[in-house]
């Protein structure tokens, strides 16, 4: 993280030494882009904090841990698609679920959809790419995530 800040500062410094006018323009672009997308970002943050508060970890654990193998995978993919959580929340949660006996296949479906399929990020994604492309990308990502989950089950011997 510190490296990221230092790198950005260094690049910005180089840029200013080389061409002041261009660098100012870069900052203006940065600001304009940020302001234009900020309302969508805020909307996503609101949705994300709401869903995490009303869908507590115990509920997620209960849904993923019970039911038959395939029902759990489908449920995991659906929850992963509609929820959105930062990695620093998601992986510790998965670690706990793993210890509770949730299978690797289910957790694979959960984590992959969590990151690749975004029902909640829809407003942001649509603002950049339009509705059609957003829908298609998310649908393809869902299929990808399910295939990855099955492969995970296969490698961990959970299919038999």
């Amino acid at each position: 993280m510190l490296f990221f800040y230092a790198g950005t500062a260094l690049l910005l410094l180089f840029s200013f030494i080389k061409d002041r006018r261009k660098s100012k323009q870069a900052l203006i672009i940065a600001w304009k882009r940020f302001v234009r997308i900020a309302p969508d970002f805020i909307l996503v943050l609101i949705l994300m904090s709401l869903i995490l508060a009303f869908l507590p970890n115990q509920v997620i654990a209960a849904i993923l841990g019970n039911g038959t193998k395939w029902a759990s995978v489908i449920a995991a993919a659906l929850i992963g698609s509609v929820t959105l959580m930062p990695g620093f929340v998601a992986f510790p949660l998965c670690g706990i679920l793993l210890k509770q006996g949730v299978s690797y296949m289910v957790l694979s479906a959960f984590t992959t959809t969590l990151m690749m399929v975004g029902v909640l990020t829809f407003p942001v994604e649509r603002a950049y790419f339009g509705t059609r492309a957003t829908l298609l990308r998310n649908a393809l990502s869902l299929v990808t995530a399910l295939l990855v989950a099955v492969a995970t089950g296969l490698f961990f011997g959970e299919l038999g």
Binding site: I29, F34, S49, F91, L107, A127, F129, R137, L140, V148
Partner: protein, 177 residues
């Protein structure tokens, strides 16, 4: 619409605070935590995007990530994704910049999907909780699938003369309504 949603949300937080409504308080905690987390990353990310816009030549992007690039365009997409900080919310504005500089659609979609799965710092974190085998399988299996589906999506959208400006237009249309 968005303003109304934000106002409603603030009202909800306020009422929860006064009434001591637990899920509401939890929502407030989440919101401030996630907002702070995002604010740690976004300023730098957008400054880098700004610098990219003024310094990197269109021809350079076109050559390495554009229609002329064959295999290497995808390799670059994966490398770029691996080093992307944050998540999709950084990947979207970055890919928008790349597209405007002439990167082709299939490379853009590869980058977006890959940055959801392949970020290096996140992978280290994931492996520490889930084990290396889990992470390795997830990566190795999703890599070809991401490539395949991105090329498919890129081809389909190109055939329909899709442009990313379509996205911006839909944003404007919504505002005019």
């Amino acid at each position: 619409m968005k303003l109304a949603a934000a106002a409603l949300f603030l009202l909800f937080l306020g009422v929860s605070f006064i009434a001591g409504f637990q899920p509401g308080l939890e929502t407030g905690r989440n919101f401030s935590l996630f907002t702070l987390d995002m604010l740690k990353i976004l300023p730098c990310a957008f400054i880098l995007i700004g610098l990219f816009e003024v310094w990197v030549k269109k021809e350079t992007v076109e050559k390495h990530l554009g229609e002329g690039s064959l295999f290497m365009g995808y390799v670059w997409a994966f490398i770029l994704a691996g080093t992307t900080v944050g998540g999709l919310y950084v990947a979207f504005p970055v890919s928008y910049s790349l597209y405007r500089k002439g990167a082709k659609l299939s490379v853009i979609f590869t980058y977006i999907s890959a940055s959801a799965v392949f970020r290096v710092p996140m992978a280290v974190f994931e492996a520490s909780f889930m084990g290396l085998k889990f992470t390795a399988i997830r990566f190795l299996v999703s890599l070809p699938l991401i490539l395949f589906s991105s090329i498919l999506l890129g081809r389909y959208l190109k055939k329909r003369h899709y442009r990313i400006e379509d996205g911006e237009n839909s944003l404007k249309k919504e505002k005019n309504r």
